[in-house]
C-alpha cells in the first residue's frame, strides 16, 4: 500500500501532471537551459536535488511550525527563504566539486531560487498536490523527486530537440523562443496521452 502510493505519486508527477508540460511551472529555466544537452542535464540534476531537499525541509516547517502556531499565512515567505538558502548551499557544493558544471550552468544556478517549480512543489506539498488526502513527509519528498525527474525529463527531451533544430529551416522570425514554444506545445500535446491514467 505504502510503496504503491509512492509509486503513484512518482508516476503522476513525472508523466501525468508533468510540472513543465502540464502544470506550466518552471518555464524560465526550461526555456533558458535547454539549448545544450550537457547543461540541461546539469540543470536537471541540480533541480532534482533542490526539489527533494526543499520538500524535505519545507514540509516539516509547515507541519510542525506554521500549522501549530496558526501562522500558515507566512508559508510563502518561509519557504522562499529556505529554498534560497538551499540553493546557496548547492551552488557552493557544485562550485567546489565541478567547476566545469558550475561554469556551464552560469547564471541559472542562482535562478533556481526563482524557479517557480521549486516553490511550486513546496506549496503543492502543503495542499496535498494531485492526491486526495494529506501527504506525509515521505510522500512530500517523493513528490519533490517526481517533480524534479519530470522537469529533467522535459528539459532533456527539449534540449535534444533544440540541438536538432539548430540546423532546421525554420522561418527567420520563428527562430529561438517561438519555435521552442511550438515544440513545447507539441510535447505537451503528446503528454496528454498520459491524462486520465490510473496507476
Amino acid at each position: 500500500m505504502e510503496i504503491q502510493t509512492l509509486f503513484v505519486i512518482l508516476i503522476s508527477t513525472i508523466f501525468i501532471n508533468n510540472y513543465v508540460l502540464s502544470q506550466m511551472l518552471g518555464l524560465c529555466p526550461f526555456l533558458g537551459v535547454s539549448r545544450k544537452l550537457d547543461s540541461a542535464l546539469g540543470m536537471g540534476l541540480a533541480v532534482i536535488f533542490v526539489m527533494v531537499m526543499a520538500s524535505f525541509f519545507t514540509f516539516p516547517i509547515y507541519k510542525y511550525i506554521l500549522v501549530p502556531y496558526d501562522i500558515t499565512y507566512l508559508r510563502t515567505i518561509a519557504f522562499i527563504l529556505v529554498i534560497a538558502g538551499l540553493v546557496q548551499f548547492v551552488e557552493m557544493v557544485v562550485e567546489n566539486v565541478s567547476p566545469v558544471l558550475y561554469h556551464s550552468l552560469g547564471i541559472f544556478l542562482p535562478l533556481i531560487t526563482t524557479n517557480c517549480a521549486v516553490l511550486g512543489v513546496a506549496v503543492l506539498n502543503t495542499e496535498s498536490g494531485f492526491l486526495s488526502g494529506d501527504l506525509g513527509l515521505l510522500e512530500a519528498v517523493v513528490q519533490g523527486l517526481g517533480a524534479g525527474l519530470g522537469f529533467t525529463l522535459a528539459l532533456l527531451l527539449m534540449a535534444g530537440i533544440r540541438e536538432r533544430l539548430e540546423i532546421a529551416d525554420i522561418p527567420e522570425n520563428l527562430k529561438g523562443l517561438p519555435i521552442t514554444f511550438i515544440v513545447a506545445g507539441l510535447m505537451a500535446m503528446a503528454f496528454l496521452g498520459f491524462s486520465g491514467m490510473k496507476v
Binding site: 535534444g160 530537440i161 522561418p171 500535446m189 503528446a190 496528454l192 496521452g193 498520459f194 496507476v199
Partner: protein, 359 residues
C-alpha cells in the same frame, strides 16, 4: 552539386559517385501512398461515403496548406513529393468514420503548418505531422473524436459474438457493439457491472475467435484506416519488400506489445492470455502505426539500433496507455511521445566510427 556545366556539348560534370540506387524521395512517398491505398479503399467500402469524403478533404487540405504556406513564405512549393498526401491520408485514417469534415480540415491544416512547415518543411519536423494533427483534434474536440463511430446494421461481428455468450442482458449489446473493440474492452467491464454482467463475459466476447478473425479482416468498428490488419499488413509488406522501410521498427514495436501483453495477461492469471495478446496486436491502430507511422523516416531514428530502441519504446508506451491510461488506444500518443525522444536516441545510438574505440 549545382555546378553541372557543359564544357563539351552534352557532357555532364558532377561529383562521384556517378550512379544511383534509383529510389527517390518521390518514389518512396508514392509507394507509401500505394501501400495505404487498399486499406483506404476498404474503409470506403466498409464505412461509406463519409470515410471517402474525410480522406479526400484531409488530403486536399494538407496539400493546399502546404502549397499556401510555401507560397506565402516564398519557398519552393513541395507538394509534388507526396509527403503532404501521406500526411492527409494518415490523418484521415486516424479519425472516426463519422467525424465532421470541418474538424478534419482543421486538423489537416494544423498537421501540415504547425507540425511540419514551421519547422522548415519536409525533413525537419520533430513530430509526425499526421499524429500531431490527430492529437490536436483529440484535445480540441474529444467528443467527436471518441463518439463518431460508424453504426453498423443490427448484426455485427461483435453483437454476434456477444450473443454467443449466454446471459448477456439486452443493454449489454449496446455497450459492447457501439464503439471500437478497444473501447469496449476499456469501458465494457466497468459499465456492464451495473447490468450484472461479469467482466469475464465481456472478455469471452471480445477475445472470441470470431472477433479476432474480423479484427484481422477488418469488418469491425474503428478509425477509418485502422480496421483491416490484413490489408495494412499487405501494404506494410510491400514497403518492406521495396525496402522503403526496414523491419526494425515494425518488428520491435509489435514484438514488444506482444511480449508485454502476453506477460501481463499471463501474470495476472488471465484465462485467455494468447487470445488477448492477439486481440491487442490486431485491434486499434497498432498495425497501421507500426508499419506506417512509427516508420516515418523523418521522425524516427536513423540507426538500426536506434530504430529498435524506438520501436520498443513505442511498444511499452502503447501497452501502458492501453492497460492503465485514460484512452482506450495508445498507439498514436506513444509514437508521438517517442518522436520527442528521437534526437536523444540518435545521440546515444550513434554507430561506432571505424577505427575508434567506444565513445
Amino acid at each position: 552539386m549545382q555546378d553541372e556545366k557543359k564544357a563539351v556539348p552534352g557532357l555532364l560534370l558532377s561529383n562521384a559517385p556517378h550512379i544511383h540506387a534509383g529510389q527517390s524521395l518521390q518514389s518512396i512517398m508514392w509507394l507509401v501512398v500505394l501501400a495505404l491505398a487498399p486499406a483506404a479503399a476498404y474503409s470506403v467500402y466498409l464505412f461509406g461515403l463519409n470515410a471517402l469524403m474525410l480522406t479526400v478533404v484531409s488530403v486536399a487540405v494538407c496539400v493546399a496548406a502546404e502549397a499556401a504556406f510555401c507560397f506565402l513564405m516564398k519557398k519552393p512549393v513541395t507538394i509534388t513529393d507526396g509527403s503532404a498526401v501521406i500526411t492527409g491520408m494518415l490523418l484521415a485514417f486516424n479519425v472516426p468514420p463519422e467525424a465532421p469534415l470541418w474538424m478534419v480540415a482543421i486538423g489537416a491544416a494544423f498537421a501540415v503548418i504547425v507540425a511540419k512547415q514551421l519547422f522548415g518543411g519536409i525533413g525537419f519536423n520533430i513530430f509526425n505531422p499526421a499524429l500531431a494533427g490527430r492529437a490536436f483534434l483529440m484535445a480540441s474536440w474529444p467528443v467527436y473524436m471518441t463518439t463518431s463511430w460508424h453504426r453498423f446494421g443490427p448484426t455485427t461481428v461483435l453483437s454476434q459474438a456477444a450473443s454467443n455468450v449466454a446471459g448477456l442482458p439486452e443493454q449489454a449489446y449496446d455497450i459492447i457493439t457501439q464503439a471500437t473493440p478497444l473501447s469496449a474492452l476499456k469501458e465494457g467491464p466497468k459499465l456492464l457491472t451495473d447490468l450484472g454482467v461479469t467482466p469475464d463475459a465481456v472478455y469471452r466476447t471480445l477475445f472470441s475467435p470470431e472477433v479476432i478473425k474480423s479484427l484481422f479482416i477488418g469488418n469491425i468498428g474503428g478509425c477509418i484506416g485502422e480496421t483491416s490488419a490484413l490489408l495494412l499488413l499487405v501494404g506494410g509488406l510491400l514497403l518492406l519488400y521495396k525496402r522503403v522501410i526496414t523491419w526494425h521498427i515494425p518488428l520491435s514495436y509489435m514484438g514488444t506489445v506482444a511480449v508485454l501483453m502476453f506477460a501481463y495477461y499471463s501474470l495476472t492469471g488471465f484465462a485467455y492470455a494468447g487470445a488477448a495478446t492477439l486481440f491487442h496486436l490486431l485491434s486499434g491502430g497498432l498495425v497501421l502505426g507500426a508499419f506506417f507511422m512509427a516508420t516515418d523516416m523523418v521522425t524516427s531514428p536513423v540507426t538500426h539500433r536506434g530504430m529498435i530502441a524506438f520501436g520498443v519504446g513505442c511498444g511499452i508506451l502503447t501497452c501502458v496507455i492501453r492497460l492503465w491510461g485514460g484512452y482506450p488506444e495508445g498507439v498514436s500518443y506513444s509514437i508521438l511521445l517517442m518522436n520527442s525522444t528521437v534526437p536523444l536516441i540518435d545521440r546515444f545510438t550513434r554507430p561506432k566510427v571505424f577505427g575508434t574505440k567506444h565513445e
